[in-house]
């Protein structure tokens, strides 16, 4: 391994050169003196004979000078020549790399935009989500009472400011048809926390943030373009929101997509406002901006102290609460992290396979170029220069490949958006300098990975041997390195295939899950409402009943119900339940999911009642239905019906009697087993409530009829979100589907690459051994034997590769656990199927060259010889 020495040669110093040359001249002078010349004349003649001293020195310097620039330019020129000379080979390598580097850069661009870059706000790492926790419940709803938010903001010392908001959908009725828009009510300090200003327009005035102050609304850039065609004179125009004329005071910049990308409007809400008992009415989501230099643990400690102080002041409502602080970015990207890293891992494996493939290609290439290389050696080219030249060729291919791959990366945003619209921050994915740099880095890594081994092997000094004997008489023996490479490709492809197979199986299992209710022929939609309406329960009930009655009276509708949250969708509202009858201290606490539904829900969803009767929607004492899991978990077969339950956090009701037990259904997600659940029967719609309609015909065909019927009785409201229930399931699986589709695609690509690698290596082998095979056939070998021999050669490598792939897959099951449903990461049928598939494909890829080998014409070969 001394080739690298030639890259970093020792240099002779100028003084050393001088004294070496001077010695020579001195000796020549002595020689001349000995021949009888006078010393002066002797020296003159010696210098003359020696030739130009400076010229020799310059030539010596040349020996040591590495002409980096000249060499690079020359190498690039020869690399271009090389590409022109072998277009098929070059195109194969470039396209393989374009695909592999492109896919890698595309996934990296998503990772960069979603996971690595800060949120698109100034000093975004200071933004924190602040939640209120009640340790007694495990509900993911951590809304905060507006009064408490004001207390936190006043008493803390670690935040610049804290603000809160909530969103609801409203009807905008300036034009003929009411349009549903999404409005965020924001408490004071909202824009101070974000550090974003409207343009054109202004922020809210303090008087607009007071109770009964002048109305004002800020609109989103999207809404501005959609509704007003980006009218520059927008300020001062008005929107009619739920019947109230509201002047537009500004437009937010396009990058401001908060709370989510659907938000159209922001309206001010006075600080500390409340529609009920002020310290129990929790409905704000709280965001805070840390002071510069404050770290999250300090903020946590600080707010814990503040909350403890509030607990002493208001023991009844605040003593049990604790405060949770998480970086807003973490909350935003939440679950995408694992999927994205999984995808990145698989595209990186894909890139490795592509590299291995290219190494194999380059190796067979350099075998063909042996002659050229030995000629250059004999002309005195140092090995380092040859290696540099070969690496330049590989780099040029990788560079062009990664350039082509950037087109793929540029489309990444569209690809991700179309496969998983719910992916957070997906609109932030785009091609920028970072991605270009990343691609460039990829091509450098690829050059070293792919180019180094073939370059070092290809320039081994077998000069005399190679010059002397042409490759004609060569009988190739085994080529262990190429087989190893093919084996590695198969192993990596099998690893990817195993992952894709498991995800596919899991996806298939999810599709087969019986949710416990009948999801076919259910149409869902929402109606614009606001929380103000939830104050008058009586009126709310009349409203809800009237809508449901109208729906039921519509021809083609079998049943109608409401539910807060779509059945089968991740929405957990878990609280602690108290039994009025009491319960032994030793018993575990009663924790249950709460579902707010109308009594017609069970009939509409076709959920069978196992015992007792339906809950009553009368004005009498409230009643509830529990599910079987609730009865089994907390009553162990003892009668449930007749007990009275009370939820600690639910505003609605006092003790309610359990009157029925319903069968278990997967309310909170198809992949979640049924949890103990209490159904609170309240025919009370609120913002976010879904209307569920069972239709006779395909659900969407009813949408227009229903829209018309409702408009007749509620002309001021907009109806939206019409979708078959099954569509919601499919949406909920979007991220799951994204990773399944992409991983399957990567695995298929990996398998094809491995297949090409196998085919290429075997074909090459067959080519080299044509003479040998021809001779053997001439000597009477059966063609079947020849086929068998080459086929076995391919399969043997493949079987070893599969085995290695299985081991790698088995070792990396941890990566997938938690992403799978209904299939274990070491599922034997899936892994066997994957290996079978790999073997079949490998056999096909080997069969073609094997058959070609058996068709060698012995006469032809002997004539060539």
């Amino acid at each position: 391994m001394s080739w690298w020495k030639s890259l970093f040669p020792k240099r002779a110093s100028d003084a050393q050169m001088n004294s070496e040359l001077r010695f020579h001249i001195d000796e020549l002078t002595d020689e001349n003196i000995a021949a009888g010349m006078p010393p002066d004349e002797a020296r003159r003649r010696a210098i003359l004979e020696f030739g130009g001293h400076e010229q020799v020195k310059e030539e010596l310097r040349d020996v040591y000078r590495i002409r980096v620039l000249d060499a690079t330019v020359a190498n690039l020129k020869s690399a271009f020549r090389f590409i022109r000379k072998s277009p098929t080979f070059s195109a194969t390598v470039m396209l393989t790399l374009a695909l592999a580097i492109g896919a890698n850069s595309a996934v990296f661009s998503a990772i960069d935009a979603i996971l690595l870059k800060p949120l698109p706000f100034p000093d975004a790492d200071q933004l924190m989500r602040v939640d209120q926790y009640n340790p007694k419940t495990s509900s993911p709803f951590h809304m905060v009472a507006p009064v408490r938010l004001e207390d936190w903001n006043r008493l803390n010392s670690t935040f610049q400011a804290l603000t809160g908001y909530y969103t609801e959908d409203v009807s905008e009725s300036t034009s003929a048809l009411p349009e549903k828009v999404t409005r965020a009510w924001v408490s004071p300090r909202f824009f101070q926390v974000w550090g974003v200003e409207p343009a054109p327009g202004r922020e809210f005035m303090p008087e607009e943030e007071t109770l009964n102050g002048p109305p004002a609304v800020l609109i989103s850039d999207r809404f501005w373009r959609r509704r007003f065609n980006a009218d520059p004179n927008i300020i001062g125009k008005s929107l009619r929101l739920d019947g109230h004329l509201t002047p537009i005071v500004g437009v937010m910049p396009p990058s401001f997509l908060f709370p989510n990308r659907d938000t159209d409007l922001w309206c001010p809400i006075p600080g500390g406002i409340s529609y009920g008992p002020p310290r129990e009415n929790n409905w704000f989501i709280v965001i805070g901006r840390l002071k510069p230099g404050v770290i999250i643990s300090q903020a946590r400690a600080n707010l814990a102290t503040v909350q403890a102080q509030l607990g002493r002041e208001f023991p009844k409502t605040d003593a049990q609460l604790s405060v949770g602080i998480e970086p807003l970015k973490e909350i935003t990207i939440a679950d995408s992290r694992r999927s994205l890293w999984l995808l990145f891992g698989s595209v990186t494996l894909l890139l490795l396979i592509a590299c291995t493939n290219i190494v194999a290609l380059l190796l067979s290439r350099s075998a063909q170029r042996q002659h050229e290389i030995s000629v250059r050696f004999s002309l005195g080219a140092p090995r380092g220069a040859l290696i540099a030249q070969l690496l330049t060729e590989t780099f040029l291919l990788a560079f062009i490949g990664s350039g082509l791959g950037l087109f793929l990366a540029a489309a990444a945003s569209d690809i991700f958006r179309s496969l998983a619209a719910q992916l957070p921050r997906v609109e932030e994915i785009h091609l920028d300098a970072r991605i270009v740099l990343y691609s460039l880095a990829c091509s450098v890594v690829v050059t070293l990975l792919c180019g180094l081994v073939p370059a070092i092997r290809g320039t081994r000094r077998s000069l005399s041997a190679s010059l002397a004997q042409s490759s004609r008489s060569q009988v190739s023996g085994r080529n262990p390195l190429q087989r190893l490479l093919v084996g590695i490709q198969v192993a990596l492809a099998v690893t990817l295939l195993a992952g894709a197979g498991l995800l596919l199986r899991s996806f298939q299992q999810l599709g087969r899950v019986n949710p416990g209710f009948d999801a076919a022929h259910i149409l869902t939609f929402q109606l614009s409402m606001n929380y103000g309406e939830t104050g008058d329960l009586k009126k709310l009930r009349q409203f809800t009943d009237r809508i449901l009655e109208t729906l039921r009276a519509t021809p083609g509708v079998e049943a109608a119900a409401i539910s807060v949250g779509v059945p089968g969708q991740p929405l957990k509202y878990q609280t602690e339940i108290k039994l009025t009858e009491g319960r032994a201290e030793s018993e575990p606490k009663l924790m249950a999911d709460n579902r707010l539904v109308s009594a017609s829900y069970f009939a509409t969803m076709r959920i069978p009642l196992l015992a007792g009767e339906l809950c009553r929607e009368t004005d009498g004492p409230p009643t509830v239905v529990v599910n079987r899991a609730f009865a089994d978990a907390y009553f162990h077969g003892a009668p449930v019906i007749g007990h009275h339950v009370q939820s600690l956090n639910l505003g609605y009701s006092g003790p309610a009697e359990i009157v029925g037990v319903a069968s278990d259904v997967r309310e909170i997600g198809l992949d979640q087993p049924p949890a103990p659940t209490v159904y609170w029967c309240a025919p009370l719609a609120e913002p976010g409530t879904y209307f569920l309609v069972r239709t006779r015909n395909p659900p969407m065909t009813m949408a227009e009829t229903i829209r018309k019927q409702i408009r007749d009785i509620e002309p001021q409201r907009s109806l939206y979100d019409f979708a078959p229930l099954e569509q919601h399931f499919s949406d909920a699986l979007a991220e799951n589907r994204l990773r399944t589709i992409l991983l399957t695609f990567f695995a298929a690509t990996a398998l094809s690459l491995a297949c090409i690698g196998l085919y290429g290596t075997l074909s090459y082998n067959v080519n080299i051994r044509r003479r040998e095979v021809g001779l053997r056939i001439a000597l009477g070998a059966l063609r079947g034997q020849i086929v068998k021999q080459f086929l076995w050669q391919g399969l043997a490598v493949c079987i070893l590769g599969c085995l290695a792939g299985w081991i790698v897959a088995a070792a990396s099951t941890r990566v997938l656990s938690g992403l799978l449903y209904g299939v274990s990461p070491s599922d034997v049928p899936t892994l066997s199927a994957v290996i079978l598939l790999a073997l079949i494909v490998a056999a096909t890829a080997s069969l073609v060259p094997a058959i070609r080998a058996s068709r060698v014409d012995p006469m032809q070969v002997l004539r060539d010889e």
């Binding site: 070496e20 040359l21 000796e27 020799v56």
Partner: protein, 111 residues
Amino acid sequence: MPIEKSDLLQGTLDMLILKIVALGPVHGYGISLRIRQISKEVLQVQQGSLYPALHRLEKRGWLEADWGESEKGRQAKFYKLSAKGRKQLVSEESNWNRLAGAVANIMETAQ
């Protein structure tokens, strides 16, 4: 008539240097002297090609160099053959012999 630099086959000078250095550590002047003497004044190496060749061979690791005192007490750079150089010499020598044999063979047979 002495053969000038241009007449010397490319690569042949390297072989000659290696061969002479193989006899023992020697300085540049000594090498030019030996080539002249052994070839009976037929080959005369220009210093302009000798020294670059020496440095190139040293850079390739076929020669090793050390500073020492010449027989007349002057500071001189002495070259000696490295293990790699010895291998190189063997291979070049056999190449040369084959080539020379082949050429001689043709010259004789074709007469």
